[in-house]
């Protein structure tokens, strides 16, 4: 397999995980602010 695709796959996976984690943190912050 082309190594560029592997690097791209890993980069997108890391970005996707980071993005979803930030969204979860934001959701939690919204909940805490409403309390």
């Amino acid at each position: 397999m082309d190594r560029n695709w592997v690097v791209l796959g890993v980069s997108l996976l890391v970005w996707g995980l980071l993005f979803s984690w930030i969204l979860r943190v934001e959701k939690r912050v919204n909940e805490l602010e409403k309390k």
Partner: protein, 217 residues
């Protein structure tokens, strides 16, 4: 929510084009790809530390703790992005120079920035009382930031270095393929928006923590 999805797609698209379509720089070859992560991280470091300094000045002027919240959050994030720039730079150095760390002028500069802002966070952690902590930290932040442009932009140009030319080189030109420049600028913009999003969240967390502390008495 729409701008968040747009940010995700923007960075993902820039990564995809940068890693699959953009050409490689001769000599650097495959290691060229690191510029799409390394330089935006270094850029956001400077933006974040500048933001921290700006809010430190505002705090000293207005004595409003909301400015201190911004200054502290930006310094934390600046340190985080500085670590990202250091790690990606070290990985690149291993591939190109054969060692993760060589005490090159750029590596030494970034090491000093890491030390300066680690000390800032240590200082904040060691002072009791919001007002006193905010005042002393603001003074430290303003003084520390004086060194940042010197360490980032001046020192690496004063000494011989193995590090590739800065984006805008000594002749004042950008020697880069146009597609690379587009991907690179897209990543810079994406990282900058990501920083301000994280900054807003960190400030909100600080305020929740303060409210909970007050509630506990």
């Amino acid at each position: 929510m729409i701008w968040r999805i747009a940010l995700f797609a923007w960075i993902a698209a820039a990564m995809t084009v940068g890693l699959l379509k953009a050409p490689l720089v001769p000599v650097l070859e495959e290691t060229t790809r690191v510029i799409y992560f390394h330089i935006p991280s270094a850029w956001v470091t400077v933006v974040a530390l500048g933001w921290s300094m700006l809010h430190s000045v505002l705090y000293l002027w207005k004595r409003d703790l909301r400015n201190d919240d911004h200054a502290a959050a930006a310094a934390e994030l600046g340190l985080l992005f500085c670590i990202a720039a250091t790690v990606t730079g070290a990985l690149w150095a291993k591939a190109m120079w054969g060692a993760y760390w060589n005490w090159d002028p750029r590596e030494t500069s970034i090491f000093f920035i890491l030390l300066l802002y680690s000390a800032y966070l240590a200082l904040r952690g060691s002072i009791e009382g919001d007002e006193k902590r905010a005042r002393l930290s603001a003074i430290y932040s303003v003084v520390a930031f004086v060194a940042v442009p010197f360490l980032v932009f001046v020192v690496p140009r004063m000494y011989d270095t193995l590090h590739p030319d800065p984006l805008i080189n000594k002749r004042g030109k950008i020697d880069m393929d146009p597609l690379m420049v587009e991907c690179f600028v897209a990543m810079l913009a994406g990282f900058t928006v990501l920083f301000f999003w994280l900054q807003t969240l960190r400030v909100r967390v600080t305020r929740i923590e303060r409210r909970q502390q007050l509630a506990r008495g």
